[in-house]
């Protein structure tokens, strides 16, 4: 905490100590950036080396003769099972599962948080505590009962299909995964929003209520516009977790045409008794992480200070 203490001195003295302060802050931030970047460095240099160099050289040294071949292979040639189309073929499978799951779970989390802080009812604490504790259920122990239920829903879907011509997505593996991720993401999204809204001024809601605003109007006009930072956090969290989930994805959507990115990456990287191509693996892992990184950068821009909170108070 010494660095926090440092700015304290700034208030009393002149410009030079203020500059010093900034130097210390930037220095610390840079230092930590180094710590975070180190493994990325290992991965990057490895991805540009030939296998020969990886086996014979130092893991941390720069490539002697940088090659793009591993990246090209990872992008368009690498095999996930018998399908050798590279990582590029799996983005869409993941995106069409992740985007709905993130949107639904974030929206529900926001609504839940709103109700649990601003429209409290008897027992709201218990309801919240129960939803929060849901975060801790080990996924290994839900895998089989969930599979059984999804399987029955799938058979029900076939019946519906025969009867009505529609199966409403029942039995579709992408829909199944969206459902599973919404179910097990709700605890977190509710937690995030509830704890964020906890500090949100209740007077504001009351005032709006007096003006005749409805439940949803207040949510849309007052809560949501002031929730940008927590929406960013929730989206980052949900997107990352769902994108990187392997257990559910491999168990419920393992076959080639619906296989999400993470399962494909696992298939590329993991081999029990075969030759391991570290350079291709590293490149593939970075390619697989691209959408998540884009979300971090784009969503990160909305880490803005609350806009209305100040204005209303004033």
């Amino acid at each position: 905490m010494s660095a926090v203490a440092t700015p304290a001195r700034q208030a009393s003295s002149g410009i030079s100590s203020k500059t010093l302060n900034r130097v210390v802050i930037y220095g610390l931030l840079a230092l930590f950036a180094l710590f975070y970047l180190m493994p990325l460095f290992v991965m990057l240099v490895t991805s540009f080396k030939t296998m020969d160099e990886i086996q014979n050289g130092n893991m941390l040294s720069l490539p002697h003769a940088p090659t793009f071949a591993p990246w090209i292979k990872a992008w368009s040639e690498v095999c996930s099972g018998l399908t050798c189309v590279g990582m590029k073929g799996y983005f869409w499978n993941s995106i069409k599962m992740v985007v709905p799951a993130v949107l639904i779970s974030t929206l529900l989390g926001a609504l839940n948080g709103y109700v649990l802080t601003k429209w409290r009812f008897r027992g709201h604490t218990l309801v919240f505590a129960m939803m929060l504790f849901a975060c801790f259920i080990p996924f290994q122990s839900v895998l089989l009962p969930m599979a059984t239920i999804l399987g029955s829903l799938g058979r029900f879907g076939v019946t519906l299909q025969n009867a009505t011509g529609f199966n409403f997505g029942l039995g579709n593996s992408t829909v199944n995964l969206v459902f599973v991720h919404v179910v097990y993401g709700l605890g977190f999204t509710t937690l995030f929003f509830r704890n964020y809204y906890e500090a949100f001024p209740t007077e504001l809601i009351k005032a709006a209520q007096v003006d005749g605003a409805s439940f949803f109007q207040i949510f849309r006009r007052i809560m949501l516009p002031n929730s940008l930072p927590i929406i960013v956090v929730t989206v980052i969290y949900q997107f990352t977790n769902i994108w990187n989930d392997f257990l559910f994805a491999s168990a419920y959507a393992g076959s080639g045409d619906v296989m999400p990115m993470t399962v494909a990456l696992n298939n590329v990287v993991n081999t029990s008794t075969g030759v391991v191509e570290y350079n291709v693996n590293m490149a593939a892992a970075m390619i697989a992480a691209l959408p998540t990184l884009i979300v971090y950068i784009v969503a990160g821009r909305y880490f803005v200070r609350g806009l209305m909170a100040g204005a209303v108070k004033g």
């Binding site: 949100f200 980052i236 697989a288």
Partner: protein, 316 residues
């Protein structure tokens, strides 16, 4: 528990004539919450009951529904005191203590610290934030390999420093059965602390600027400002961060596997490894379920008092 607060906040309809419409309005919040709650009851609590049930059967490869007694728990109980040589269960729970405590404490401290630094109107925040966050985005089956090399005395840091001339440098924790769990802490902190930073940053950005200004006018130093005003306001965020970290800690399965392959003689196991091994790999589903139940009970014992102290407070 907070009925006083409830009545205060509860929004009563303006006119007292209860029409169908207004009654619907009244029930609307509950209706909005109901689906989420119902889903949680079925797919979380229902499945927890299922797990508890299985732990009293002799389920092996597949679930079996014949209750056969508490043998799974007796075995776990016996293993709890098998310390020489340490049983896998004993290793798992002691590692959980070390890992859980260090991981949560360091991530919270580091996350808050970085968030406060980043909140000092930093130029380049947009570059630094993704740098701190990106470890979350990468699948650990690959970053685990990068860390494994980096920490390997024959391949990574130690060898490089030796080549640079610092030959007395020695860092072989990843090969040492007594220290391997700390390397898991390092990699775990690397992976999650950026997100905790983001949570605190969101919290900081949500704080009313007027409060900060008022305090500054009152002559509070920056340190006082944070200690007395900002950090107390972040309490709900601490709760969120704690829950996220605790959940990550007890589910850190791939971390251990990718980084250490279980560690020398299985010395890096965590309960999640135990649970997975016994449920799926060793075909002892009853034991796996029992260990899951014990983990959940431990979490209840830790979380419930914390929740109680956090949630019983009146809202502002």
């Amino acid at each position: 528990m907070s009925s006083v607060a409830t009545t205060q906040i509860k929004l009563t309809p303006e006119r007292s004539r209860p029409s169908v419409r207004s009654r619907l309005q009244d029930a609307l919040p509950k209706l909005v919450l109901a689906p989420s709650f119902a889903i949680t009851i079925v797919f979380v609590y229902g499945f927890i009951l299922w797990t508890i049930y299985l732990s009293f059967t002799n389920s092996k490869t597949f679930p079996s529904y014949v209750i056969t007694g508490s043998r799974a728990y007796q075995r776990l109980w016996g293993w709890t005191f098998d310390t020489d040589p340490p049983s896998s269960w004993y290793t798992s729970i002691t590692n959980m203590g070390i890992f859980g405590f260090l991981y949560i404490a360091i991530c919270l401290a580091l996350g808050l610290f970085l968030a406060i630094l980043l909140d000092q109107k930093i130029r380049g925040e947009g570059v630094l934030r993704p740098i701190y966050l990106y470890p979350m985005a990468l699948s650990f089956i690959v970053t685990g390999v990068a860390w494994k090399w980096f920490l390997d005395p024959g391949l990574g840091l130690e060898q490089t420093l030796h080549q640079w001339g610092w030959t007395s440098f020695h860092f072989d924790w990843i090969k040492n059965k007594d220290f391997v769990i700390y390397t898991v802490v390092i990699a775990g902190v690397w992976q999650a602390s950026g997100f905790i930073m983001a949570m605190f940053l969101a919290g900081l950005r949500g704080i009313d600027g007027e409060i900060m200004k008022a305090a500054q006018i009152d002559g509070a130093t920056t340190f006082q400002l944070y200690r007395r005003i900002v950090i107390p306001l972040l309490r709900p965020i601490f709760l969120s961060a704690f829950i996220v970290l605790a959940h990550l800690a007890i589910k850190s399965y791939d971390l251990v596997v990718a980084l250490t392959s279980g560690g020398p003689g299985g010395s890096a196991w965590l309960p999640s490894n135990f649970m997975y091994e016994y449920t799926f790999k060793r075909n002892e589903m009853a034991v796996g379920s029992a260990s899951a139940v014990i983990m959940l009970m431990t979490i209840v014992a830790i979380i419930v008092p914390y929740l109680y102290s956090e949630l019983r407070e009146k809202p502002r």
